[in-house]
Symmetry: C2
Subunit: 546 residues, 2 copies
């Protein structure tokens, strides 16, 4: 069996037809959901690209792998999905984005060269690279945000787009009435068509790359097809730019009560530039239709992939996984971007199609178990026929759910966020180690703990599914808060770093030192069978004590 593991960047859980969006039809996503299971409570381990992906790819919580924000390098030696899958006999390839930053200092210390196979896998988060493009070829006075090379820019230049950075000048820009670049960075331009042939834009390009990969692959393989979109810049080529308009924009999910004495961290975020932009209806009315257009294009390209799998007879031996690395506030809760723990940000779509007959009973169903993105790595390892190394992987395989079982499951989902690198850290006057947020969600109550001496936030999603009323402002929910803190504390004590010895090895090793002569309890040797002490008996070989 192969695994087509598709991630969309910044795709909200509720912007799919099958998830109930009122205006956005996504027949191809829906068709995978109809063949598989849609998880309705899937949470990422950090609502930001880099940290979220490092958790998904390592199967470990952010505090366990340490790459807690974009471009914080993943420490050399962390085991990843690719390592575990290769050990189980399955290749693991990357087509698209990872946001992986190599631990150059750690690699240099160990003498690892980035151009060796080992070094390249360390630098590429354990993937073998078919195509790596993180899709953020931004440029400013200090140069490029991404110092790597862009295969996508090379592709566009080959196609004749006359620019050193056609990503910025064509794929993510329109043209204004004066014939000037209408950059996709400016929300005012989000309703313009991107100045690129649709088939050359990022999403079709990665679809082509994925098909080219599959054309030559012999398997078993896991292909991580990691789309750059619908992540900003919010601009989409024709005809997608005009499929949706202000009439299709849902009202912002926000309430004045949220601005009354907000939690200081939430307050700081509500006051940032992104929030200020998304608090304007004009911005939402331009950006959200573009965002929907980008998703619609993703859905169409998913259709291309599904047709390819059908046409080549691969639907029967390919697991398909559709998910995201985090959501997008889009003005909900007075916020833009992601970062905090409201559902719009931390919940992701997760649809898994398992072609095996064991999964027949669950096709077209939903599952509301508290699922974490770190569950994917063990799911894939088990699918590959490997044994899940649960002394390293902190998630749990989802195969039981796919196969109609309801295993004992975690009581809380955990997510984390490190804002030490942001303006909010400055505004709040916090030391980097105090700029850390933790979400504990038990399926009903969602608590945010903030380091730095702040009170928590608490929402009751049963009574207040829109998360407007912060119950931690009063004292009425002290018991629930205490309980969630206890659950966070238990998580904090988890055994996350004993990665060099499995539980099975520990159990098998018990008593081993006894049989290797370690006997620090003997009064005279009569306590144990003679064979254990035979090395210490017999005539002395000489006397040296005089």
């Amino acid at each position: 069996m192969n695994i087509l593991f598709i991630m969309y960047d910044q795709l909200r859980f509720d912007y799919l037809g099958c998830a109930g969006h009122p205006h956005l039809e996504t027949p191809h996503f829906d068709s995978v959901a109809a063949r598989g299971v849609r998880f309705t409570n899937a949470y990422v381990q950090s609502p930001i690209c880099g940290a979220s992906r490092m958790s998904t790819y390592t199967g470990r919580y952010v505090s366990s792998h340490g790459a807690s924000w974009n471009n914080v390098p993943l420490r050399v030696g962390e085991w990843t999905m690719g390592d575990h899958l290769r050990a189980a006999g399955m290749e693991c390839w990357l087509i698209g984005k990872t946001h992986m930053k190599a631990d150059a200092k750690g690699m240099a210390r160990l003498g690892l060269k980035p151009d060796s196979v080992i070094g390249a896998r360390q630098a590429e988060c354990g993937f073998d690279v078919w195509t790596r493009d993180d899709g953020l070829w931004a440029e400013g006075p200090d140069g490029f945000y991404d110092s790597g090379r862009s295969p996508y820019n090379a592709y566009l230049r080959d196609k004749g787009y006359p620019s050193q950075n056609p990503w910025a000048d064509f794929a993510n820009a329109g043209v204004d009435a004066d014939g000037d670049i209408a950059s996709g960075w400016m929300f005012a331009n989000a309703d313009k068509p991107a100045n690129i042939r649709e088939e050359d834009s990022e999403t079709p390009w990665l679809t082509q790359e994925a098909i080219a990969f599959m054309e030559q692959a012999s398997g078993p393989w896991c292909a991580h097809l990691s789309y750059i979109k619908p992540h900003w810049p919010y601009i989409v080529p024709a005809p997608y730019h005009e499929m949706f308009g202000p009439d299709h924009v849902p009202p912002a999910v926000r309430d004045e009560v949220e601005r009354e004495d907000p939690h200081p961290v939430y307050g700081a975020y509500m006051g940032n530039k992104i929030a200020a932009a998304f608090q304007q209806d004009e911005v939402r009315n331009k950006v959200i239709p573009a965002y929907m257009g980008l998703i619609k294009q993703c859905d169409d390209q998913l259709g291309v992939l599904l047709k390819y799998l059908e046409d080549t007879g691969q639907m029967e031996d390919t697991m398909i996984v559709l998910t995201s690395d985090h959501g997008d506030y889009l003005g909900d809760h007075w916020l833009g971007e992601k970062d905090l723990f409201h559902e719009q940000s931390v919940k992701v779509p997760l649809i898994v199609y398992d072609p095996r007959t064991e999964a027949d009973a669950t096709r077209g169903t939903t599952c509301d178990a508290l699922v974490e993105a770190i569950d994917l790595a063990p799911t894939f390892v088990e699918t590959a026929g490997g044994e899940v190394p649960d002394h390293i992987l902190e998630g749990r395989s989802l195969l039981p759910f796919l196969h109609g079982q309801r295993p004992d499951w975690r009581e809380v989902a955990i997510s984390e966020f490190d804002f030490s690198g942001t303006p909010q850290a400055v505004k709040l006057g916090l030391a980097p180690k105090d700029c850390r947020l933790f979400m504990v969600f038990d399926g009903r109550y969602k608590m945010m703990h903030a380091e730095g001496g702040f009170r928590p936030m608490l929402f009751d999603l049963q009574e207040d599914p829109q998360e407007f009323h912060d119950l931690a402002k009063g004292t009425a929910h002290a018991e629930i808060i205490d309980r969630l803190y206890d659950q966070l504390a238990a998580w904090g004590r988890r055994c996350a770093q004993r990665i060099t010895r499995s539980d099975a090895e520990i159990i098998a090793g018990r008593g081993g030192s006894l049989r290797k002569g370690i006997l620090p309890f003997l009064v005279d040797g009569s306590e144990v069978p003679g064979e254990l002490t035979s090395a210490y008996r017999g005539p002395a070989k000489a006397r040296y004590d005089t």
Copy 2:
């Protein structure tokens, strides 16, 4: 400046003259204490050799580095004292024991060969090796406990001791009345002299090695002189075997109340073979005099070292640090060995002599701050003139205390113990991940938390300095227990794995993405200076959208 960092294995904090032992005189330890500071509340991060040392050498808590028990490999890539000191321009050499187990699987994955410089440092916990000998050449039906080579055994064979394993047959054995080997493993033999010339026994051998190292070293260096003794086997050569007798054995610190409804983990330990042996007065009366003799020998050998430093003029530029990796119950609390968190096990001696004039004001004083063994690595880095990488090192430099300051300091000391590999795990029926204990000690109250659903233990060392009365049996101390659990929880959330980016780098990087063109908040570009958006302005290069 150089650093002579001496560790004695299994040396109790209170078996020194300067610490008030009634019968054991240790003039050389005392003389270092008289020139330096003796820390009276120094705690190891795990009361067992391997885990404790990995914390001391990495400057990180056990749950942070993951090598939670003897022979659990330290994951490849962990930074150690040696890495940090070399970066600060100081060599870091090993003479003796580390109990380091290399992460062979992790090294193989990264292509690191144990015989390369990089590979050897990875395999040797960051030290360059002058002599490595862990001093446990035990042998049983399944072979040797330690599969390495023993320089000490080679030394003894060179000296003519006729055995393949003279460590076992001579250094750690006497001869009985019948001329047979009287193994040091049997406590009944602890009063016999070891069948070896005193100058050939382990402690003088390592002293010679240390002097040989210093003879040729040019510095600046840190030498970790890591003695194997007074760790068991409890047997010592003449004349040390007869310096102490039953009259010098303090009464066991134990009380019947401890056996009434004990905490299940404590109860399991009280019922193990080692405890059963040490509950016998005959055992204590033989073993403790041998233990004291071993310490007396260590003290004499410390005298040799001090004389060498004096004679070579090195006392003025050598910091001397004397400590241990854990204690030894010796029958106190009905226990033998170490493992749990009573003072006899988890508290260690720690004496630091700093030759610099800044330390003149504190010479001969004691310091009762809650010090952890992980504080040594940052102390050494600062002594070497380096900047303490506090995104990796979790301890804090002790130099302020040595220089007469009283900095704001930690509120609790933490220690951990993993008994998943022991018979107690079997007896209690626990899964490996539940065999984990945590100590939280605030200087007065000491709590032990045990995973696996047990109640905690609590002692008030002010009212009950001998730790007989477990206050967690009742409900009277619920508030204190809650508070200690809160402190443990805060520790559990610590930022331990963000080791690839320092706080200074985080602060310096703020706003960096803005200047590299990441601007996901622009409505029309007027929000920021034009230079930030100049890459996205100007005439479009061509039109492709039709």
